[in-house]
């Protein structure tokens, strides 16, 4: 028994239920003689990986489904061993090089080299290397990637997967065929949810489906997970039933409330503990920033909002440069507190004047 997300994941290009035109294009591409390198990008949960696995299946048949998980060990020039998990079949290999941090360049070079030097099976002219999160690769690694792309084009193709092309160097972009996978629209998500329900034999009220679709923010994986979680919580469904949300999001909201209610150094300390708690649950810093910002700006006027957005953007950027996100998150919270406090005090003064 598997989760619905995995159970009903489309396996072939024909089974995809949205972005149909793109599916057709991808089919053309697979049929054509020269399959290029691909750069698949789009928000998370839009179906990038599903599409990639469909392409692989279209290229190689069901053989790609027999995958194994391996740990590969590479050695850096300074003799440091780095280990990375790969996910591979006879025809392809999937890896997330940014997993190893600043050593990603070594992984890129060595991995592509080893793959490219082994001969592909069964008359297939090339093997496919799927690289996840290329937008998080270091500059070094991207340069290395560009070189290897050219060098080994005869025996392997790359499928790069990224959230956005913003941080992929133009040199790589220009060497790949860009495939933008937009998130499904709400109606597409609703249709997807209904399909799943039908196959599971449960009845899903349209209103609930709408609500789930809206709450999922264009993330189909999340929508289906949510549907199943809702089902686990209560079935038969009620239209107005409580939507299951990740716990950390609730926690973040509670934390934001703490901030809005009181702006003192003591409160800052208390909030810091909450933030630590979130970080310890491996919640990415940028999501914390985004979530906090969304909650905090609610009660502010436009001027304030602009100010706060600017602070958030700056602090978040610095957090990505630094090693200790807590410093920067705290800076942001402190700044918000000060701005907000001033705002409240001014408002109070104006009220007094009015009276």
């Amino acid at each position: 028994m598997a989760l619905w997300v995995d159970k009903y994941r489309p396996k072939a290009l024909e089974e995809l239920d949205y972005h149909l035109e793109m599916a057709q294009s991808l089919k053309n591409l697979v049929k054509s003689e020269d399959f290029p390198h691909l750069l698949v990008y789009g928000p998370s949960g839009a179906g990038k990986r599903t599409r990639i696995s469909c392409i692989l299946r279209e290229l190689y048949g069901s053989g790609v489904d027999r995958v194994r998980i391996q740990k590969q060990v590479f050695e850096t020039p300074s003799k440091k061993k780095i280990e990375i998990s790969t996910y591979s079949s006879n025809y392809h290999i999937e890896v997330n090089p940014s997993d190893v941090g600043i050593q990603d360049r070594v992984v890129i070079q060595e991995l592509i080299k080893t793959v490219a030097e082994t001969h592909p099976l069964d008359q297939h002219p090339f093997k496919v290397i799927v690289l996840q999160e290329v937008d998080r690769l270091s500059k070094d690694a991207q340069d290395a990637l560009r070189r290897t792309m050219e060098k080994y084009i005869s025996s392997c193709r790359l499928i790069l997967c990224a959230l956005s092309t913003s941080r992929v160097t133009p040199a790589i972009q220009s060497r790949c065929l860009p495939i933008r996978v937009a998130a499904p629209s709400d109606t597409q998500i609703v249709r997807g949810l209904q399909n799943v329900s039908k196959k599971e034999g449960i009845t899903l009220p349209l209103k609930l489906a709408d609500r789930i679709a809206e709450a999922s923010q264009g993330n189909l994986r999340r929508a289906i997970l949510m549907l199943e979680a809702c089902r686990a919580e209560r079935y038969p469904f009620a239209e107005d039933q409580n939507l299951v949300q990740p716990d950390w999001e609730k926690y973040l909201k509670e934390t934001a409330l703490l901030i809005v209610h009181e702006q003192t150094p003591e409160r800052l300390l208390q909030v810091r503990e909450n933030i630590y708690e979130l970080l310890c649950h491996c919640i990415p810093t940028d999501l914390i920033f985004k979530g906090l910002l969304k909650e905090l700006v609610r009660n502010c006027d436009n001027q304030l909002k602009a100010e706060i957005c600017s602070e958030a953007a700056t602090c978040q950027w610095r957090a990505t440069r630094g090693n200790k996100p807590i410093f920067h998150i705290e800076e942001f919270i402190a700044k918000f507190m000060a701005i907000y406090k001033r705002f409240i005090e001014q408002a109070a003064m104006i009220d007094d004047d009015m009276e």
């Binding site: 500059k139 999340r222 990740p246 300390l269 602090c315």
Partner: protein, 688 residues
């Protein structure tokens, strides 16, 4: 061999003390005190600290013993230290600095000599030497620690296999805490024969100034590593050849206090090639004595990581610095012995300034109270006299260096430095002169009252890394601030310093820059920004009162995050490594589904999902006060060092209490943790 060596040294020492002229000869390889013919001896000014010279001899002779290959070459004609005949003033300054720097090591030497050669009369040396404890009862070391050391030694001697513990023991602690004395005295008491490793002088050092004549091929350079290995294994395997007239001890103890520098750089070699084989092969036990120091490479944790200690079952004894009260008591005894009359407040001040280093304190005491006509009282030392009447504290700016020789270096424990920064005390000036150069609009940025402690000075004396210190600052700054606006500035300064400290992948030219020097200066700047920033912007201070200081939560958090990521990669091999938003999306929903679909996941997976998917709500804010409330009401206007001492004493008394803020090991351990994670990129651990 050791005995012979000691004999020689003592011999020389006596010659030296009787003569005004001191000959320095380093290449004393044949054991003859003055091989005058081959090399004209140099005449040097007699220094007040004869131990200095002793040290030279000690080093020289021992090196010639350990490095067999030196015998073939003419030993250096150049004394290692520049006791030249040049400008007297300059020389004496150099001497002064060197004397202070080496005081520690000298004293160790003499200690050992005394212990080994009981009955020899030693005169005219420092008070430290004269007042060395001669048995364990005289030691000013916590009884429990002494007990630990002796019991370990006993255990190694025991013939009962079951009782016998590991052959290796590590003794750590701040310098001057009595580690060496304890070990030597304990060994003496138990009748162990001591064999000590002394670093050989390197060959290249010898020939540095005569490169022209030096042919490297002539000399077979044996690496320090090999020498050390040989020494250790030979010493541990075979008993000493009996020498007539000496009673042969059945048990032998090897002591390593001087570590070959190589090991700091390459600790894994040390672990794998020396410690591990040694643990299984050795007949005699070995004790490693390591002083805590500011330098990170010399960290205990680098040489003896926890995993290794566990693996080899290494004994680990950690000394605390001597409490102030003990020190004062000890100094009072000395004073009465030496016939000086010292005020108690002066003794306290000295004790405070020494930062828990008893040896340093006694040396200071001697400088202070030596009669004016003694050779010690050169013009350079007069400077020390004046301030001793007052409290010794970190003096403002320019005078700082004058004390650095007397006050122990690196004496500021982390929490004490923290106190200085966080309280950011200012001297209140009575008649403030307004600076007219500052435009009116900027006046609010002026701080008229000068800071009591110069942050630069605090930083220079601190013994932890910039990273650690900034973490501590960040953890503890909020309670000291009374206004949100100040906190904003403070948090900004802290973030700035963190930003500066973090890895900079590319410099301007786009190439990776990891030069050590650049890192150094960046660390310093980061520290300055953080500490000056905090001191500057704390305008609306909270009530001046004693506050507990906490360990940064960051350390803990990092460990948790890293662990989680590792587990995730193991038990969710596919998703954990490749799936995006694994922690922020997948796991949270799994945790909601777990009741219904428990069969999908294995037990460990289920635990992991519950642990990471659900955030536990704490009813109350976590308890912040880490120490007893006893001191909370203490008058905060007292000198901070007072608080520090109080803290120390508390910890000393309640060693079993869970949180021991002033344990230097906290800092050290923390650094170890950091070191582990420096390898991994922190931001990467956060990936989804």
């Amino acid at each position: 061999m050791a005995d012979q060596e000691a004999d020689e040294q003592a011999h020389k020492r006596i010659r030296l003390e009787d003569d005004d002229i001191v000959y320095i000869d380093l290449g004393d390889d044949d054991g003859e005190p003055f091989p005058v013919q081959s090399r004209p001896p140099r005449r040097i000014r007699r220094t007040k600290d004869t131990n200095d010279v002793n040290k030279e001899f000690h080093g020289g002779s021992s090196s010639s013993k350990v490095i067999p290959s030196t015998s073939g070459t003419p030993p250096s004609t150049k004394p290692k230290i520049g006791y030249g005949t040049g400008d007297g003033k300059k020389v004496s300054q150099i001497q002064k600095l060197q004397a202070a720097a080496r005081m520690e090591t000298n004293n160790k030497t003499s200690q050992k000599d005394i212990l080994l050669r009981k009955g020899k009369k030693i005169k005219g040396c420092t008070w430290v030497d004269r007042n060395l404890p001669s048995n364990l009862d005289e030691l000013f070391v916590h009884k429990k620690k002494v007990e630990e050391v002796t019991s370990w030694m006993k255990a190694t001697m025991s013939s009962n296999r079951a009782v016998r513990s590991s052959k290796i023991c590590v003794v750590t602690g701040p310098s001057g805490a009595g580690k060496t004395a304890t070990v030597f005295l304990a060994a003496k008491e138990l009748g162990l024969e001591i064999k000590e490793w002394v670093n050989p002088m390197s060959l290249t050092d010898y020939n540095a100034d005569r490169l022209g004549k030096f042919d490297p091929d002539d000399i077979k350079v044996e690496s320090q590593f090999d020498i050390f290995t040989n020494f250790l294994f030979r010493a541990s395997q075979y008993s000493t050849i009996p020498i007539k007239g000496r009673t042969q001890s059945k048990h032998k103890l090897i002591i390593v206090e001087d570590f070959p520098n190589l090991f700091y750089k390459n600790s894994s070699q040390f672990h794998n090639n020396i410690l591990k084989p040694f643990a299984s092969l050795s007949v005699f036990p070995v004790i490693f004595i390591i002083a805590d120091s500011a330098s990170r490479e010399r960290n205990v944790n680098n040489l003896f990581p926890k995993s290794l200690i566990q693996e080899l079952n290494i004994g680990y004894i950690s000394f605390n610095s001597v409490a102030t009260s003990f020190m004062v008591k000890f100094m009072t005894t000395i004073c009465s012995k030496e016939g000086v009359d010292a005020d108690k407040s002066v003794l306290e001040a000295i004790a405070n300034a020494s930062g828990g280093d008893l040896r340093c304190a006694v040396n200071t005491l001697q400088f202070k109270f030596t009669p004016a006509d003694s050779p010690l009282e050169s013009p350079n030392f007069k400077a020390f006299k004046a301030p001793l009447g007052k409290k010794i504290k970190c003096p403002p700016l320019k005078d700082a260096h004058k004390f650095s020789d007397v006050e122990k270096d690196n004496t500021l424990f982390i929490f004490r430095a923290l106190g200085k920064i966080l309280y950011s005390k200012r001297n209140v000036l009575q008649n403030v002169e307004l600076n007219n150069d500052v435009p009116e609009s900027a006046e609010k940025y002026l701080r008229h009252n000068p800071l009591e402690d110069d942050p630069q000075c605090v930083i220079e004396k601190m013994e932890v890394s910039a990273d650690t210190f900034i973490n501590f600052l960040q953890q503890n700054y909020t309670p000291f601030f009374g206004s949100m606006d100040d906190v904003v500035l403070a948090s900004e300064f802290l973030a700035d310093s963190e930003f500066l400290l973090s890895r900079w992948p590319f410099d301007a030219s786009g190439t990776a820059s990891r030069s050590y020097k650049e890192l150094e200066s960046r660390e310093e700047i980061a520290l300055l920004i953080a500490s000056r920033g905090l001191m500057y912007c704390n305008v609306h201070k909270t009530k001046n009162q004693w506050r507990p200081l906490n360990k940064p939560m960051l350390t803990d958090a990092r460990v948790r995050i890293q662990k989680s990521c590792e587990i995730a990669k193991q038990i969710f091999p596919h998703e954990g490594a490749i799936q995006m938003n694994f922690y922020s999306e997948v796991i949270p929903f799994y945790s909601k589904l777990i009741r219904k679909h428990s069969s999908i996941w294995m037990q460990d997976q289920r635990e992991f999902i519950m642990k990471l998917g659900i955030i536990e709500r704490k009813k109350q804010p976590r308890v912040q006060h880490s120490l007893s409330e006893k001191d909370a009401t203490e008058d905060a206007n007292d000198d901070q060092s007072q608080e520090v001492d109080e803290l120390e004493d508390i910890v000393e008394q309640n060693e079993n209490e869970k949180i021991q803020i002033d344990q230097p090991t906290i800092g050290a351990q923390y650094e170890e943790d950091l070191e582990e994670y420096e390898i991994e990129d922190y931001s990467d651990e956060e990936k989804t």
